[in-house]
Protein backbone atom coordinates (compact mmCIF):
# COMPACT_ATOMS: atom_id res chain seq x y z
CA UNK A 1 0.00 0.00 0.00
CA UNK A 2 1.47 3.34 -1.07
CA UNK A 3 1.12 6.47 1.04
CA UNK A 4 2.19 10.07 1.26
CA UNK A 5 1.99 10.48 5.00
CA UNK A 6 4.89 12.94 5.17
CA UNK A 7 4.63 14.55 1.75
CA UNK A 8 3.37 17.84 3.15
CA UNK A 9 6.16 17.90 5.75
CA UNK A 10 4.08 19.73 8.33
CA UNK A 11 4.56 17.23 11.18
CA UNK A 12 7.32 15.18 12.77
CA UNK A 13 7.12 11.40 13.09
CA UNK A 14 6.89 11.64 16.89
CA UNK A 15 4.20 14.32 16.65
CA UNK A 16 2.03 12.25 14.33
CA UNK A 17 2.69 9.08 16.39
CA UNK A 18 1.45 10.69 19.61
CA UNK A 19 -1.59 12.21 17.84
CA UNK A 20 -2.77 8.91 16.39
CA UNK A 21 -1.71 6.77 19.37
CA UNK A 22 1.02 4.55 17.91
CA UNK A 23 4.79 4.33 18.35
CA UNK A 24 7.23 6.35 16.24
CA UNK A 25 8.55 3.07 14.76
CA UNK A 26 5.08 2.30 13.39
CA UNK A 27 4.95 5.68 11.62
CA UNK A 28 8.48 5.01 10.33
CA UNK A 29 7.38 1.61 8.99
CA UNK A 30 4.28 3.19 7.40
CA UNK A 31 6.37 5.83 5.69
CA UNK A 32 8.75 3.18 4.32
CA UNK A 33 5.72 1.13 3.10
CA UNK A 34 6.80 -1.77 5.34
CA UNK A 35 3.49 -1.83 7.18
CA UNK A 36 -0.12 -1.55 6.04
CA UNK A 37 -2.18 0.17 8.75
CA UNK A 38 -5.57 -0.95 10.00
CA UNK A 39 -8.55 0.92 8.61
CA UNK A 40 -8.98 2.70 11.93
CA UNK A 41 -5.37 3.95 12.02
CA UNK A 42 -5.59 5.06 8.38
CA UNK A 43 -8.73 7.10 9.18
CA UNK A 44 -7.07 8.61 12.26
CA UNK A 45 -4.03 9.71 10.20
CA UNK A 46 -6.28 11.21 7.52
CA UNK A 47 -8.22 13.00 10.24
CA UNK A 48 -5.01 14.53 11.65
CA UNK A 49 -4.09 15.90 8.20
CA UNK A 50 -7.70 16.97 7.56
CA UNK A 51 -7.65 15.25 4.17
CA UNK A 52 -9.68 12.42 2.61
CA UNK A 53 -8.33 8.93 3.24
CA UNK A 54 -7.53 8.28 -0.45
CA UNK A 55 -5.25 11.32 -0.55
CA UNK A 56 -3.06 9.84 2.17
CA UNK A 57 -3.20 6.13 1.26
CA UNK A 58 -3.41 4.56 -2.18
CA UNK A 59 -3.80 0.90 -3.03
CA UNK A 60 -2.22 -0.65 -6.10
CA UNK A 61 -2.67 -4.39 -6.71
CA UNK A 62 0.97 -4.97 -7.84
Amino acid sequence: MANNVFENGQMTQSGLASKVGVTRQTILALEACRYSPSLELAFRIALVFQTPLEEVFQYSPD
Partner: protein
Protein backbone atom coordinates in the same frame (compact mmCIF):
# COMPACT_ATOMS: atom_id res chain seq x y z
CA UNK B 1 19.86 1.64 13.44
CA UNK B 2 16.57 2.99 14.80
CA UNK B 3 15.41 0.43 17.33
CA UNK B 4 12.35 0.64 19.58
CA UNK B 5 12.29 -0.19 23.30
CA UNK B 6 10.16 -3.26 22.55
CA UNK B 7 12.61 -4.51 19.92
CA UNK B 8 15.51 -4.03 22.35
CA UNK B 9 13.61 -5.99 24.95
CA UNK B 10 13.11 -8.89 22.49
CA UNK B 11 16.85 -8.86 21.64
CA UNK B 12 17.65 -9.09 25.35
CA UNK B 13 15.16 -11.97 25.83
CA UNK B 14 16.68 -13.76 22.83
CA UNK B 15 20.24 -13.43 24.19
CA UNK B 16 19.23 -14.55 27.69
CA UNK B 17 17.26 -17.54 26.35
CA UNK B 18 20.19 -18.57 24.16
CA UNK B 19 22.92 -18.19 26.78
CA UNK B 20 20.98 -19.79 29.64
CA UNK B 21 19.77 -22.71 27.50
CA UNK B 22 23.24 -23.40 26.13
CA UNK B 23 24.65 -23.41 29.66
CA UNK B 24 21.92 -25.74 30.93
CA UNK B 25 22.11 -28.29 28.11
CA UNK B 26 25.91 -28.28 28.00
CA UNK B 27 26.22 -28.68 31.79
CA UNK B 28 23.58 -31.40 32.10
CA UNK B 29 25.07 -33.29 29.13
CA UNK B 30 28.55 -33.10 30.65
CA UNK B 31 27.18 -34.42 33.99
CA UNK B 32 25.48 -37.57 32.79
CA UNK B 33 24.67 -37.36 29.10
CA UNK B 34 21.15 -36.20 30.02
CA UNK B 35 20.37 -39.49 31.78
CA UNK B 36 19.60 -38.09 35.22
CA UNK B 37 17.26 -35.46 36.64
CA UNK B 38 17.20 -35.91 40.40
CA UNK B 39 20.74 -35.57 41.68
CA UNK B 40 22.70 -33.06 43.75
CA UNK B 41 24.74 -31.98 40.69
CA UNK B 42 21.60 -31.33 38.63
CA UNK B 43 20.28 -29.24 41.53
CA UNK B 44 23.46 -27.13 41.33
CA UNK B 45 23.05 -26.74 37.55
CA UNK B 46 19.39 -25.62 37.91
CA UNK B 47 20.36 -23.15 40.69
CA UNK B 48 23.14 -21.78 38.46
CA UNK B 49 20.66 -21.41 35.59
CA UNK B 50 18.32 -19.36 37.79
CA UNK B 51 21.18 -17.16 39.08
CA UNK B 52 22.63 -16.75 35.57
CA UNK B 53 19.28 -15.67 34.09
CA UNK B 54 18.69 -13.15 36.92
CA UNK B 55 22.21 -11.67 36.64
CA UNK B 56 22.06 -11.56 32.81
CA UNK B 57 18.65 -9.84 32.95
CA UNK B 58 19.88 -7.21 35.43
CA UNK B 59 23.03 -6.49 33.40
CA UNK B 60 21.43 -6.46 29.93
CA UNK B 61 18.26 -4.55 30.88
CA UNK B 62 20.37 -2.14 32.96
CA UNK B 63 22.80 -1.47 30.11
CA UNK B 64 20.54 -1.41 27.07
CA UNK B 65 16.91 -0.94 28.07
CA UNK B 66 16.63 2.21 30.14
CA UNK B 67 13.73 3.75 28.21
CA UNK B 68 10.23 3.78 29.64
CA UNK B 69 8.29 0.95 27.98
CA UNK B 70 5.75 2.22 25.47
CA UNK B 71 2.24 0.84 25.26
CA UNK B 72 1.87 -1.81 22.55
CA UNK B 73 0.27 -0.44 19.39
CA UNK B 74 -1.47 -2.38 16.58
CA UNK B 75 1.82 -3.16 14.78
CA UNK B 76 3.43 -4.50 17.98
CA UNK B 77 0.38 -6.71 18.61
CA UNK B 78 0.38 -7.96 15.00
CA UNK B 79 4.10 -8.80 15.16
CA UNK B 80 3.68 -10.50 18.55
CA UNK B 81 0.86 -12.60 17.15
CA UNK B 82 2.86 -13.64 14.06
CA UNK B 83 5.87 -14.46 16.28
CA UNK B 84 3.67 -16.59 18.55
CA UNK B 85 2.32 -18.46 15.52
CA UNK B 86 5.87 -19.10 14.30
CA UNK B 87 6.90 -20.41 17.75
CA UNK B 88 3.78 -22.59 17.93
CA UNK B 89 4.37 -24.19 14.51
CA UNK B 90 8.01 -24.86 15.43
CA UNK B 91 6.97 -26.50 18.71
CA UNK B 92 4.35 -28.62 16.94
CA UNK B 93 6.86 -29.86 14.35
CA UNK B 94 9.52 -30.60 17.00
CA UNK B 95 7.03 -32.44 19.25
CA UNK B 96 5.88 -34.55 16.28
CA UNK B 97 9.51 -35.45 15.54
CA UNK B 98 10.05 -36.25 19.23
CA UNK B 99 6.99 -38.53 19.31
CA UNK B 100 8.31 -40.33 16.22
CA UNK B 101 11.75 -40.74 17.85
CA UNK B 102 10.19 -42.15 21.06
CA UNK B 103 8.01 -44.55 19.06
CA UNK B 104 10.99 -45.77 17.01
CA UNK B 105 12.98 -46.12 20.21
CA UNK B 106 10.20 -48.23 21.77
CA UNK B 107 10.27 -50.35 18.63
CA UNK B 108 13.89 -51.11 19.37
CA UNK B 109 12.88 -52.45 22.80
CA UNK B 110 10.35 -54.77 21.17
CA UNK B 111 13.12 -56.10 18.93
CA UNK B 112 15.16 -56.93 22.02
CA UNK B 113 17.57 -54.00 21.78
CA UNK B 114 18.07 -51.33 24.44
CA UNK B 115 16.03 -48.16 24.11
CA UNK B 116 18.11 -44.96 23.97
CA UNK B 117 15.22 -42.73 25.08
CA UNK B 118 14.50 -43.00 28.78
CA UNK B 119 12.50 -40.54 30.92
CA UNK B 120 15.28 -37.99 31.63
CA UNK B 121 16.48 -37.98 28.00
CA UNK B 122 12.89 -37.43 26.79
CA UNK B 123 12.54 -34.56 29.28
CA UNK B 124 15.71 -32.93 27.95
CA UNK B 125 14.48 -33.34 24.36
CA UNK B 126 11.17 -31.65 25.29
CA UNK B 127 13.13 -28.82 26.94
CA UNK B 128 15.24 -28.45 23.79
CA UNK B 129 12.03 -28.28 21.70
CA UNK B 130 10.68 -25.56 24.03
CA UNK B 131 13.96 -23.62 23.83
CA UNK B 132 14.13 -23.81 20.02
CA UNK B 133 10.50 -22.71 19.66
CA UNK B 134 11.12 -19.76 22.02
CA UNK B 135 14.19 -18.77 19.97
CA UNK B 136 12.18 -19.06 16.72
CA UNK B 137 9.41 -16.92 18.21
CA UNK B 138 11.79 -14.15 19.29
CA UNK B 139 13.88 -14.28 16.11
CA UNK B 140 10.80 -14.12 13.88
CA UNK B 141 9.47 -11.13 15.84
CA UNK B 142 12.79 -9.32 15.30
CA UNK B 143 12.65 -10.19 11.60
CA UNK B 144 9.10 -8.83 11.29
CA UNK B 145 10.14 -5.60 13.08
CA UNK B 146 12.90 -5.10 10.48
CA UNK B 147 11.11 -6.28 7.34
CA UNK B 148 7.56 -5.24 8.15
Amino acid sequence: MDISAREKSIWIELIITGVVSLYFFYSSYMLSGWTQIASYEMGVVVTNVIILSIVASIILYGLFDRETPEEKDERDLAIESRGNACGYYTLTILCSILIAIVMLSEGKVLLGKTSVINGPVAMHLVLIALMISALFKQASQLLYYRRG
